[in-house]
Amino acid sequence: MKIAVCIKQVPDTSATLKVKPDGSGVDTEGLEFVISPYDEYGLEEALKTKEKMDAGEVVVLGLGPERVTKALRSGLAMGADRAIHLADAAYEGSDALATARALAAALKKAGPFDLIWAGKEAVDDGMSTVGAAIAEFLGIPHVSEVKKAELAADHSSVTCWSEVEGGTAVVEVKLPAVLTAQKGLNEPRYASLKGIMMAKKKELVRFTPADLGLGAEQVGKSGSRTEVLKVEPPPKKQTVTKLIKDLEPEAAAKELLRLLRDEAKVI
């Protein structure tokens, strides 16, 4: 079984971000970058499947600038077999659809794959779009926000459990398919020292749009269908914290209720 995992490199989740004064985006100067958390769940699941079958291949792929190599190497260190990097100036400015189009083309070229994992969303732009869009471009089914997946014994289909409002939806799709990973799927492993050493020797290929048969109008800004006009800091709530302390529990409870009723008027 051949499994691909889409990996996006994003700013470290614990980082405080600054936006550029000209409003053009987040200031990435000096930021640490990591694999987007949901992609790690996808990768872990892919590695587990391969280990269970004791056969097959796990390929990680990512689109983005030079620094993305590091995220792909981390994926290789966790246990992926090889990596594909879509690195070229022409990809710059790609939105979710342009990204999905390029990733789908790379998956076609390096595939066919039986199973493709993506994160349910990338925690930087939070578009929750790329996984399903890849499936559409490849003409195969997808299942979103998967928290549990079970392959059929003959590997022809996969049954997925996804959380929906007020319950869980169970969906079965034929392979090949794209699944997007939700938290709860597994606990991603850490790369071992040996894994990190081995990662350096594993194959990492690069594809330009031309390699994928994509024209200039299909990638980057011209291949995009959304545009970001301005990025600004989030509105800051001006809070003057009222402290309730040094009171007996009952008195404190009374005081909080009074404030919630009469001042905040929320209950």
Partner: protein
């Protein structure tokens, strides 16, 4: 002009889901600014009875696709139906309420129609200068706010729950237009086989007006009972920090934060949660925040409107008792 803004109605068990009315509110306000009309799309089987409610809340037309193959949601079938409908009728925009179902559907539809999708918007305005919707959405888990536009027609947008007011009841009625689309089983890949529902119906976290949330300070799964009791009195949903979820005290569906849910209730009551940045991004836009912590210096205590320095095991039961007493 023929400008029309669509809202795709989400329904389950014959009931319209509330966030659909918020999406309708958002679409209607844009339609008014644009001098256009609002229409609702109902996909399903025997779901035409929803038209009355949609009309009351401002849909001038209800496009109703009644088909056996749409009885149960499938990403393939719903994408097919909406794509065909949009190609035939050419709306300006299609608005959905953000939900598990529309996060599954809208991206696939965007790819099929080769058009822009703007998910989880918190603001929408009509830009008369180019006749497109100008929207705002959070990026980087709420650490920044982006102003965005979609290229391509129809523009696809989803509304973040609770960001838009429900369209008020105008007492109007919608023209119900039955639309025939041929859909066969081969279109309907990704069909939901089954919905598993928890034994007790729970208030959905992202749609709740009040959330009581617990963290590592709760010490264990059994101790969450005091939050369940408080929540029951308040009609609230119960949330949790990642520490509480990872310890197995609560299911992942309850997690608030960067790798959980983003919530914006009227009132968020955090009990024994320190306020790590990954938690804060999930709840910082709540209208009123209460933090209960032994440690007055915990980051969440500084962000809270009301910070209660107390042992939660003493304070929370006292609060529940006081509420019960005053409600009698």
């Amino acid at each position: 002009m023929g400008t029309e803004f669509w809202v795709v109605a989400e329904h389950r068990g014959g009931q319209l889901r509330r966030p659909t009315l918020e999406a309708l509110g958002a679409a209607r306000q844009v339609a008014q600014a644009a001098g256009g009309k609002t229409a609702a799309v109902v996909l399903g089987k025997n779901a035409g009875n929803l038209a009355a409610e949609l009309g009351k809340h401002g849909a001038a037309r209800v496009l109703w696709v009644d088909n056996d193959n749409l009885d149960v949601y499938s990403s393939g079938g719903y994408t097919h139906a909406l794509a065909e409908l949009a190609r035939a009728q050419k709306p300006d925009a299609i608005v959905f309420a953000a939900s598990a179902q529309t996060r599954d559907l809208a991206p696939r539809l965007a790819a099929r129609l080769d058009t822009g999708l703007l998910p989880d918007c918190i603001e929408m305005n009509w830009d008369a200068s180019d006749g497109r919707i100008l929207a705002k959405r959070f990026v980087n888990s709420g650490k920044a706010l982006a102003t965005v536009k979609a290229r391509g027609t129809p523009a696809l947008l989803t509304t973040r729950p609770k960001a838009f007011a429900i369209a008020s009841d105008t007492g109007g009625t919608a023209d119900v237009v039955r639309c025939d689309i041929s859909i066969d089983a081969s279109h309907c890949f990704g069909k939901v086989k089954q919905y598993e529902q928890p034994a007790a119906a729970k208030v959905e976290l992202t749609e709740a007006d009040i959330i009581v949330s617990g963290g590592r300070g709760l010490k264990g799964p059994a101790e969450f009972a005091i939050l369940d009791e408080l929540a029951a009195v308040l009609g609230a949903a119960v949330g949790a920090s990642r520490a509480a979820v990872d310890a197995g005290w609560r299911e992942h569906a309850a997690q608030v934060g960067q790798t959980g849910k983003v919530v914006t209730p009227k009132l968020y009551i955090a009990c024994g949660i320190s306020g790590a940045i990954q938690h804060l991004v999930g709840m910082t836009n709540s209208k009123v925040i209460v933090a209960i912590n032994k440690d007055a210096d915990a980051p969440l205590m500084k962000l809270a409107d009301y910070a209660v320095v107390a042992d939660l095991f003493l304070f929370v039961p006292a609060l529940t008792a006081e509420l019960k007493r005053s409600q009698k």
